[in-house]
C-alpha cells in the first residue's frame, strides 16, 4: 500500500507501563492512601421520580465516627456543568438533589466518616421524605403529549436550536421514495449497557497547607474535570492540582466528572484527605450507561440494489439528565445514514429524557448504535432483493469525492478495501467486478457523483 517505512513508529515495542501492571506496582487512584484520611459514602434516591420534602441527617451526624454530612447547600454552584464547556445549555443536573429526584440512585447527601464502613452504616440512617411521582420510562411515551414533562423547560427532549430533535435533510426524500422500486423498513433498538471497567470510580482529595487541593482522579479527561470541578466549587482552577492519567478501564464511563466535586467539598469542609470509591453496585446502577436507542429506517431501493432514499427516526434515551447525550445524539445524527452514497436522506434524531440513571459517553456512542442499525438494514435490503450481501455494500459504499448527507465531501474512504480484505481473509472469492472496485472509482456505484 506504499506506506512509508518509519523507525520506531510501526514497531510493537512493549508497553511503557507493562511491568508496573504485571507486578501490581502501577499506582491507581484507589492505591492512594493518606494518614488521617476520611471516607465518603453517598445517600441516594430510592425512587425514580419525586419531590423532596425533607432530608433528616440528624441520626447520621450523631453516629460515632461521622465527621461531616454534605447536602446541596454545601455545594457552591450546585450544577453539573459538563456540557456548558462545549456550549450546551441549560444546566439541568444538580450535584446534590434538593428539590426533586429524577432517578433511582440520584445523589442527595454525602456522609464523611473515619472509615468506609462507618460512612456506609451512617448513610443508611439518613431519613428521606420524598413524595413519589409516576416515572416516565418509555421513549415513545416520553415524547407523547400524554407524558408529564419531567424537564423544567416543559417537554422531555433536548432542544436543539429551538427544535425537539436534530435534523438532517439532504436531497428530496419525499420525491425519491415515490420513485423507488422497493420500500424496505426496519426497526432497531438497544437497551442501556454498562461500561463495566474492572476499576470503579474513585477519587482521593488532599487539602494542602497552601489552600490548594490535590485531586487524584481516574477521569478520562483531567483538564475537563478540573475546569468543571472549579466551576462547581466556585474557586479558580489553579486551586486544584489534578493527578491522574492512569485508569483501570474507562470505555467512556469516566468523563462525567461525577466523583471529584463532592470529594473536594468533603476535603475542604473537613480539612482532611477524603476518599470516595464506588462499589460495584454503584458502578452498575448509578454510574451512567450507554443510552438505550430505538431507530426506525425507511429505505427506498432500486431493483439493482442502489439505495436512493433513506429516512431515519431515532429516539435516544438520555435518562434523567443531559450528561453527554445531547452531544452524542448530534454525532448519531451525522452517522445514521451510514458510509454509503445515498442522494436523498431525512433524519430526525431525538435526545429524550426518562427517569432512569443518565446515559452518557461509551465507546463509540452515537456511532455504535447507528452502525448496528445501518448494517442490519443493509442485510435486510440484500435479503429482500436477493442481492449478494457483499455486493449490496460494495455498490452503495461511499467513494472519495462523493458528497455525504452532512455535506462533507468524502475523503479517506476505505470501506470497499476493508470489505474486499475481509472476503479474502475468510477465503470468499468475490466476483471479478466487485474485486475490481476501489474507493477512488465510482464504477459500480450507480453513477452517483460528488
Amino acid at each position: 500500500m506504499g506506506v512509508k517505512q518509519l523507525g520506531i513508529v510501526g514497531q510493537s515495542v512493549k508497553r511503557r507501563d507493562g511491568i508496573g501492571h504485571v507486578t501490581g506496582q502501577t499506582q491507581y487512584v484507589d492505591d492512594v492512601f493518606y494518614t488521617n484520611m476520611l471516607w465518603l459514602k453517598m445517600v441516594r434516591s430510592p425512587i425514580s421520580r419525586g419531590i423532596i420534602h425533607g432530608i433528616d441527617t440528624s441520626k447520621a451526624e450523631a453516629f460515632p465516627g461521622v465527621v461531616a454530612v454534605i447536602t446541596a447547600q454545601d455545594v457552591p454552584n450546585n450544577w453539573y456543568t459538563i456540557l456548558c464547556l462545549i456550549g450546551v445549555e441549560p444546566n439541568d443536573e444538580p450535584v446534590l438533589a434538593h428539590e426533586e429526584v429524577m432517578y433511582i440512585g440520584e445523589p442527595i447527601c454525602a456522609i464523611v466518616a473515619e472509615t468506609e464502613a462507618i460512612a456506609a452504616e451512617a448513610a443508611a440512617l439518613v431519613k428521606l421524605d420524598i413524595e413519589e411521582l409516576p416515572p416516565v420510562l418509555d421513549l415513545e411515551f416520553a415524547i407523547s403529549p400524554d407524558a408529564p414533562a419531567i424537564k423544567k423547560w416543559g417537554n422531555n427532549t433536548f432542544m436543539y436550536d429551538g427544535y425537539t430533535h436534530r435534523k438532517l435533510r439532504f436531497g428530496d426524500f419525499e420525491t425519491a421514495i415515490q420513485q423507488a422500486d422497493h420500500i424496505i423498513e426496519g426497526t432497531y433498538s438497544l437497551s442501556p449497557i454498562e461500561h463495566a471497567p474492572i476499576e470503579t470510580h474513585c477519587c482521593v482529595v488532599k487539602p494542602e497547607p497552601d489552600g490548594r487541593l490535590t485531586v487524584h482522579s481516574n477521569t478520562q479527561a483531567l483538564y475537563f474535570t478540573m475546569d468543571n470541578t472549579a466551576i462547581i466549587l466556585q474557586v479558580p482552577s489553579q486551586r486544584l492540582h489534578m493527578i491522574g492519567g492512569t485508569v483501570g478501564g474507562g470505555f467512556g464511563g469516566k468523563v462525567d466528572v461525577i466523583t471529584e466535586p463532592i470529594t473536594c467539598i468533603a476535603a475542604m469542609k473537613t480539612g482532611r484527605p477524603v476518599k470516595w470509591r464506588w462499589t460495584r453496585e454503584e458502578e452498575m446502577r448509578k454510574s451512567s450507561t450507554r443510552a438505550g436507542v430505538r431507530m426506525q429506517y425507511t429505505d427506498g431501493v432500486m431493483n439493482d440494489g442502489r439505495i436512493i432514499a433513506r429516512k431515519v427516526r431515532s429516539l435516544e434515551d438520555s435518562g434523567a439528565y443531559h450528561r453527554h447525550s445531547p452531544y452524542g445524539v448530534q454525532k448519531h445524527m451525522a452517522n445514521l445514514p451510514g458510509p454509503y452514497t445515498i442522494p436523498n436522506v431525512w433524519v430526525d434524531a431525538y435526545c429524550v429524557y426518562t427517569n432512569r440513571q443518565p446515559s452518557s459517553a461509551m465507546r463509540g456512542f452515537g456511532v455504535t448504535e447507528a452502525t448496528f442499525a445501518v448494517e442490519c438494514q443493509m442485510e435486510r435490503i440484500a435479503r429482500t432483493l436477493g442481492i449478494d450481501s457483499w455486493e449490496i455494500r460494495l455498490i452503495n459504499a461511499y467513494r472519495n469525492g462523493q458528497m455525504r448527507p452532512v455535506r462533507k465531501v468524502v475523503e479517506d474512504a476505505t470501506l470497499i478495501e476493508t470489505i474486499q480484505a475481509a472476503a479474502e481473509l475468510i477465503g470468499y472469492d468475490l466476483p471479478a467486478h466487485l474485486k475490481a472496485m476501489n474507493s477512488d472509482d465510482y464504477a459500480g456505484n450507480g453513477g452517483h457523483h460528488g
Partner: protein, 274 residues
C-alpha cells in the same frame, strides 16, 4: 462498625455461641454470600459467627457418605462416587470461589444460586441439623420445603448424608455464559434400570425452576416401568415443565425457564438413554 466475631473451634463451641447469642447472629460458611453483602453495605450485622474452623469439613464414608457442612466446593468437586454432585460443584464460580464456598452454605443460597441442591436431591440426600438442645436429620427435600423461619436461628446445618449411589446420573446446567454464572436452569436426573431395560427408579431434580430446588415427582413417576424412549422422555419432560414454577430475574424470564426445563430434562434423559 462495632461487631463481635466468633470463630468456634468445634461444633459444641459453635452451638454454645448460638445458645448465648441466638437471634441477630449471622452465620457464615465460606462467606461468599455474606461478605459480598457486607462489602456493599447491604446490612450491618453486630454478631457474626464463621463456621470455617468448627471442624465441620471433610468427607467420611461409613456405609453411607457423610459430607461436612463446611466442606468446600473444590473438595466436593472431587467426590468421584457421586459424579453429578462433583460436576455441579465444579460448574460453580471459578477456582477461588470453589475454594471458599461450602456445600452447607450453598444450600442456603437463594435461587437461582444454590445448584448443589439439585444433585443432592437426585442422590436422596439428608441433612443433619444441630441445635443447642437436640439434633435431627431430615431429607433435603423436607429441609428445602421448610419455610426459612422454621429452621430457626438456633439450628446449624452440620452435615449432608448420602446413601450409596445406584444407577446412572446426568447433570445439565444452562447459564448465560460458559462458566461462573448462576443457573438459568439446572437439571439433575438419575435412573436405575431393571433387567429388562425398564426404569425401576427415577430421580429428576430441578434448580432455578421454583422458589427452591425441587424434585419433579410426576415426571419421575411417569418414567418408572418405561424404557427410555422418545415418547417416555417427552412425557417426562412435559410433566417436569408442568411441575416447575419458575421466576423471572435478570438472567431469564419465567416463560423461558419453564421452556428450558422441558428442553434440559429431555436432554438429560436422552443422555441417560445412551
Amino acid at each position: 462498625m462495632n461487631a463481635d466475631l466468633f470463630i468456634p473451634r468445634s461444633l459444641d463451641e459453635a452451638l454454645g455461641v448460638v445458645q448465648s447469642h441466638g437471634a441477630g447472629l449471622l452465620v457464615m460458611g465460606g462467606g461468599t454470600m455474606m461478605m459480598a453483602h457486607l462489602n456493599e453495605g447491604v446490612f450491618f450485622p453486630k454478631k457474626v459467627m464463621s463456621l470455617a474452623r468448627a471442624g465441620l469439613s471433610g468427607v467420611y464414608r461409613n456405609g453411607h457418605t457423610q459430607i461436612g457442612a463446611t466442606t468446600n466446593l473444590t473438595d466436593v468437586s472431587q467426590i468421584a462416587d457421586y459424579p453429578i454432585l462433583a460436576e455441579a460443584a465444579y460448574q460453580i464460580g471459578g477456582p477461588a470461589i470453589r475454594n471458599m464456598g461450602t456445600i452447607g452454605g450453598n444450600l442456603y443460597m437463594p435461587q437461582p444460586a444454590g445448584d448443589l441442591a439439585v444433585p443432592l436431591l437426585v442422590y436422596d440426600a439428608h441433612v443433619e441439623l444441630a441445635s443447642p438442645s437436640a439434633s435431627r436429620t431430615v431429607s433435603l427435600e423436607d429441609f428445602l420445603a421448610e419455610p426459612r423461619s422454621h429452621r430457626g436461628v438456633h439450628e446449624l446445618l452440620v452435615a449432608i448424608h448420602l446413601p450409596s449411589p445406584s444407577g446412572h446420573a446426568v447433570y445439565l446446567k444452562q447459564g448465560r455464559r460458559e462458566a461462573n454464572t448462576p443457573s438459568v436452569v439446572a437439571v439433575g436426573a438419575r435412573v436405575v434400570m431393571d433387567g429388562q431395560g425398564r426404569v425401576s427408579n427415577a430421580r429428576i431434580a430441578l434448580g432455578a425452576a421454583g422458589p427452591t430446588a425441587f424434585r419433579a415427582k410426576n415426571a419421575e413417576a411417569a418414567l418408572v416401568g418405561q424404557t427410555l424412549n422418545t415418547k417416555s422422555i417427552a412425557e417426562a419432560a412435559q410433566l417436569a415443565t408442568e411441575e416447575s414454577n419458575p421466576f423471572t430475574d435478570a438472567l431469564a424470564t419465567a416463560w423461558y425457564r419453564r421452556r428450558m426445563v422441558g428442553v434440559f430434562v429431555k436432554r438429560a434423559l436422552e443422555q441417560l438413554a445412551k
